[in-house]
Amino acid sequence: MKSIFTKLAVVLTSFIFITACDENEPAPDNSTTEVLENYANLVYANYDDVVKTAQSLSTAIDDFTTAPTTTNLEKARKAWLAARSAYGQTEGFRFYGGPIDNDEGPEGLINGWPLDESYIDYVVGNPNSGIINDVVAYPAITRDLLVSLNENGSETNLSTGYHAIEFLLWGQDFNADGPGDRPVTDYIAAQNTDRREQYLKVVTELLIDNLTEVREAWKLGAPYRTNFIAGEDDSIAKVFRGIGALSKGELAGERMTVALANQDQEDEHSCFSDNTHEDIRMNFLSIKNVYMGTYQRVDGSIVSGKSLADLVKAKNAEKNTAVQTLLKSVESSVYAIPVPFDKAISNGDPSKNIEKSILGLRRLSDSIVDAALSLGIQVNADLD
């Protein structure tokens, strides 16, 4: 399957239906609307940062391909890392069929993972593998080509997105203590240098366009945003669903459990750049941001307002405390995971912070579902 969390959100917003046949609809609850408005502001601000950091990445990549030096490669890598930190915080906006991942949503083009790197470029043992080195089948590296090849024939045949760029900047990781170390000569004097450069530029431009499309859907006055804010408890259920599914299935399951069980760096999220610890932290932060209704922008300014926490607290203070207590404890275990993550999964985590984080994130998800229930909203964040 694609990703277990794409599943089904069984949102039994039953009380809406009990009243659905009534002549008189109940008046909308102001606090619900306020929470949704603040959520939409937060989502827009975060995607705006995502677009801007991707633009900086694109500039750095242009500089690098124009003058392929070690310094410029390092700058491009730094720009990628910054872009990922902004993106990681948006992943709680997934899993409910919003602009990022509805049937036409670009999520698969933006953040497809896990990725078979030999689908893109050469790997150790196969110097001619990948789209870049297949001059016969793909004479020109174009945007349309990369879009058409993404997920072609296999879920891990990924040609686009952050992780494709990551591989092109870092290369395969064979270092125990650090990330991959793609030689800068890959962009100066290696086989198909020009095609590799072209690939890197095209795939980054595509990323910006895909991200921009998502951001625009959340812009003030955009139809999706307007409908979402008017969606009352139906939309609140989606907000809960997004962070519940991210916490349990995606983060604790796909991204941490599999890697820990296999002790295989190919199973860590950012396996070329060794940025997995930051991916995990930023995904956690996404859950916290949404629940608390607060987001700190890249420029340091704060977006803040009425939150899920406020809604839950007003109905059932105890359940709100339960969520917040778990947020605190998970935060400390997530930040205590040793770096790099690929070393931590191979017996490099004596305090078992990965296991603690996995268990904590599952409990956090359960407690988020429970908190939603106190508002009369049933959310399924499970693996079904």
């Binding site: 999520e107 891990t156 295989d264």
Partner: protein
């Protein structure tokens, strides 16, 4: 990480709707049949419709499911790779991962033209006689399966190209229809000519959800429907295949595969790892290489075996717990009329609607009334569909009845609608028209239907 297909199911909306509207005059609906897999039913009808776990898994079982999923979908790499749990591909193979032939846990599509390479279609081959286990006798060079792909520096076994011949037919009402018959050309033999007059059987990768439920149907219940000598004189026999059980070292009832030649999911899975991806397991620990291919054994492997027992168990658990998508439109009037025709034409004679599972599995899969629309038995499907290659007790004309559940969603998940063992049918209608042998009477009756009736029957099958 992947594009999400999402659905919100508002169960109560149905109730809400009915409570607001006047009750309609319509054919009675079987209320149970919406839940195709009983408790193990899922409600996502988007791109990931085949990929959901049954609900209510424990944390421990969730671990097995996600790890199994990762081994199912992720491509294997050439050994030795950087400390990888997934190296050891090949040296000969048909696909890079399970997902190569079962993309999104779904069904593969055959090449549309001679220039397209195989992607999810493979060929079993054999020569006349039997293997030591009573199965097909392998070709001396190529064994019992052709691998059309190989790792760098190694020659693939063969190149297969497919072209189609159009076959024209006519319904009783005069409407013409077209079928396409595949013609295969084998060329570029990598290791010499195979034995003269070798037999071959094309097999397409099929959807893999609901397999834990099928595995949990008791042998007694399956055998209840056998009628090898057609004693009830309905033209339909129904025969069990007894095949070599490599795990228990004896003959067992075959349940899986196009000819019911695999007795268990574990054997099906480990055989596919070995034959299709070139990954060894404790069940099949060596690569099936002939003498002239023996030098390939010198190529570095990905461990012995290349995938651990624990991870095989995870993959098998994953397959067992993939839920079945619920029915769509099962209360639609046309669908209900189509359902009546399906029974009237005796399609249900082999595509048996329902079973109740036994109690040998996890709780979500036990004692469930399920609607797979198969009897899991072999039937003569006629000369036009025959591969002419016996497989244990299955003759060259016999195939296992394919389950029909989820069939209408292949289009959404895999972006095609091709059916049958070699994908020759371009849609449900063509698949019906290819049915011969024991199903000949049903097909003839189908051809006599009005176009409205034919469409209703197809609508019903699409709703499964």
């Amino acid at each position: 990480m992947n594009k999400q297909s999402y659905i919100i199911i508002l169960f109560t909306s149905i109730i809400g709707l009915f409570s607001c509207e006047e009750p309609k005059d319509q054919t009675p609906v079987d209320t149970q049949e919406e839940l195709t897999g009983g408790l193990a039913t899922s409600f996502d009808f988007g791109e990931n419709a085949f990929g959901h776990a049954v609900s209510g898994l424990s944390y421990e079982d969730e671990d097995k499911f996600v790890i199994g999923n990762s081994f199912f979908r992720s491509n294997w790499t050439v050994a030795p790779a950087s400390a990888s749990a997934r190296d050891g591909l090949g040296p000969l193979f048909n696909g890079l991962s399970c997902g190569s032939c079962h993309n999104l846990d779904g069904r593969a599509e055959p090449p549309k033209s001679p220039s397209e390479s195989l992607n999810g279609l493979l060929f079993r081959i054999s020569t006349s006689g039997f293997s030591v286990n009573g199965g097909p006798k392998p070709d001396q060079i190529y064994g019992d399966q052709l691998q059309d792909k190989a790792i760098p520096t190694v020659k693939p076994e063969v190149k297969v190209s497919v072209r189609y011949e159009e076959v024209i037919g006519r319904y009783t009402d005069g409407t013409a229809y077209n079928l396409r018959k595949p013609i295969y050309v084998f060329s570029g033999w990598g290791y010499g000519e195979p034995e003269a007059n070798f037999m071959f059987s094309p097999r397409i990768g099929m959807q893999v959800f609901g397999l834990g439920l099928l595995e949990n149907i008791s042998e007694t219940d399956i055998l209840l429907n056998t009628d090898e000598n057609d004693e009830n004189r309905d033209g339909i026999s129904g025969k069990a295949n007894y095949v070599w059980d490599a795990i228990n070292k004896r003959k067992s009832l075959g349940k899986f595969g196009w000819k019911a030649n695999q007795p268990s999911l574990k054997q099906q899975t480990t055989a596919a790892f070995n034959g299709d991806i070139g990954i060894t397991t404790s069940v099949f620990p060596v690569h099936e290489l002939s003498e002239s291919q023996g030098f390939l054994n010198e190529i570095p492997n990905g461990g012995e075996p290349e995938i651990s027992d624990k991870n095989i168990d995870n993959v098998v658990f994953y397959l067992q717990t993939l839920a079945v998508p619920a029915r769509r439109n099962h209360t639609d009037d046309n669908v209900l009329r189509g359902k009546a025709l399906f029974t009237k034409l005796n399609c249900s004679g082999c595509h048996r609607p329902s079973f109740t599972t036994a109690t040998n599995s996890i709780k979500q899969l036990n004692s469930q009334k399920i609607f797979p629309y198969t009897d899991l038995l072999l039937h003569d499907m006629g000369d036009a569909l025959a591969d002419g290659r016996p497989d244990f007790l299955a003759t060259g004309n016999e195939w296992r009845t394919s389950p029909l559940w989820g069939i209408g969603l292949i289009k959404t998940v895999n972006k095609h609608t091709t059916l049958l063992h070699d994908g020759r049918a371009r849609n449900i209608e063509e698949a019906i028209l290819w049915h011969g042998g024991e199903s000949q009477n049903s097909t003839e009756s189908f051809k006599k239907l009005s176009s409205t009736d034919r469409n209703q029957l197809i609508k019903f099958v699409e709703s499964l």
